[in-house]
Point group: C2
Chain length 302, copies 2
Amino acid sequence: MIVTVTPNPALDVSYRVDKLAPGTTHRVRSVRERAGGKGFNVSRVLHELGVATLAIGPVGGVLGESIRADLLAAGIRHALLAVDAPTRMTVAVVDEEDATLFNEAGAALLDTEWDRLLDLVRARLVGADVVVCSGSLPLGSPRDTCARIVGIARDAGIPVVVDTSGPALLAAAQAGADVVKPNAAELREVVDADDPVAGAEALRAAGAGAVVLSSGPDGMVAVTGEGRWRAIPPFPVRGNPTGAGDAAVAALANGLVEQSSWPMRLRAAVAWSAAAVAAPVAGSVDLALLHRLYEEVAVEAF
Amino acid sequence: MIVTVTPNPALDVSYRVDKLAPGTTHRVRSVRERAGGKGFNVSRVLHELGVATLAIGPVGGVLGESIRADLLAAGIRHALLAVDAPTRMTVAVVDEEDATLFNEAGAALLDTEWDRLLDLVRARLVGADVVVCSGSLPLGSPRDTCARIVGIARDAGIPVVVDTSGPALLAAAQAGADVVKPNAAELREVVDADDPVAGAEALRAAGAGAVVLSSGPDGMVAVTGEGRWRAIPPFPVRGNPTGAGDAAVAALANGLVEQSSWPMRLRAAVAWSAAAVAAPVAGSVDLALLHRLYEEVAVEAF
């Protein structure tokens, strides 16, 4: 079972409009809402692919109620901590050409609430094979939040995948996260290296077990203690890239559960990620495309 | 006491961003939320200016809770009908230059819920001097909703101001609304006349007592059974025009309560409206500016 932790959940609202024109008034043609935040998206992908998962996160305010209701409706197992701070929203405005995103930062939790969230994670590790800590932290959060989750999981002998950025990413690597998944920009932000592979090795030297670098349509690179691999999608996939990284994290976590080889994990990460681009909303994959992609992803050692 | 009815309330959310750029991801710098919908804005202006008011409307879902909480926090007296349909949201994205608005349409109420809303209005007319029905109707609503409210108020001998558009505006005029307040585009939509004053007379012939035409910064025209007047703001006011029409409706309703002359009502409508443009959010007026404007508005018969 894969436990995901989402430190900064959001209600993701999607508006369809005819054509976004700054400075004008738009009639919203359709509204879609779902529980969002990267860890919840990881759980959603896992749930869709039949992998047991438990989604943990703090929720508050009326949008916290919406998050709870949506996870219930989707049948995703969850353990939510009620907090004072109201859950944030993100709004995606989608027209024929583009998606334009507005991301609220999220309100700070109290220190005691962070402690209670970590207690909740600790209490729910029974039966867990992998822990995932994914997404941003609310403004003003202690930067060691993901690192503390890494520590809790490692104390329980459970591997951890971390997908975050900035000081929280570095702290998670230093705490010994088994896998971290930055993109090139996120990597440059935390290590002093122009070359991505050198940067990944620096993050490993800091304490991370393996570093998986995502490069969008160019595929992924894994820099691990067992070797380095590169995997490329077999053909370009058009669609909505939001959530593609979450599908990759889901694949990497599942690879840890299955104890598959690194080339196989990387192949799955690229295939799940591309299949997520083809699905209309974050947290879903195009299943027909997934199988075709998976067969055809090229993986090479370097 | 002025009773306002808002058939289609909304939680108005305002996002401050650095610069709106379609197709990109924006960090939201600040978030503001308030109970919106035109009738609620009318009550907010009245409340701010010390005029007794009661705000009536249907609310549902988690955003309905936010509406209720915001009206409570603002100290605005209200009587809300709980309905199945979730209350809608509007999002205003504000950068240095522009405001860009996204308006959800609002979900349909059940026929029985409309009946209950009208029963609620009827029950709360004790002590009412004026009724206001203001704003859009949710998609698929019976077009006679405002007209039925006009009927209820007239049966109780209470004058009614209606600010809506399309078939609902025409039906309200035909039901004998005392004052309707279309802009030129809304007027052209319902009567076959190129000239605004001829159009206003056509709406009066249909049954409306008086027609007040709003023309934004160019002021307002009143076409009434007692004469025609034009009023113009004394100087241009820069700011946020959202809610300026609601302030004008508040002034017109207050003029009915005070039984002031039409020139005085029109003067107040132009002054309150311009003072609302100078206030940062809908439902507020710039009080210092209001007094200056009110002294200087030019009103002329024609």
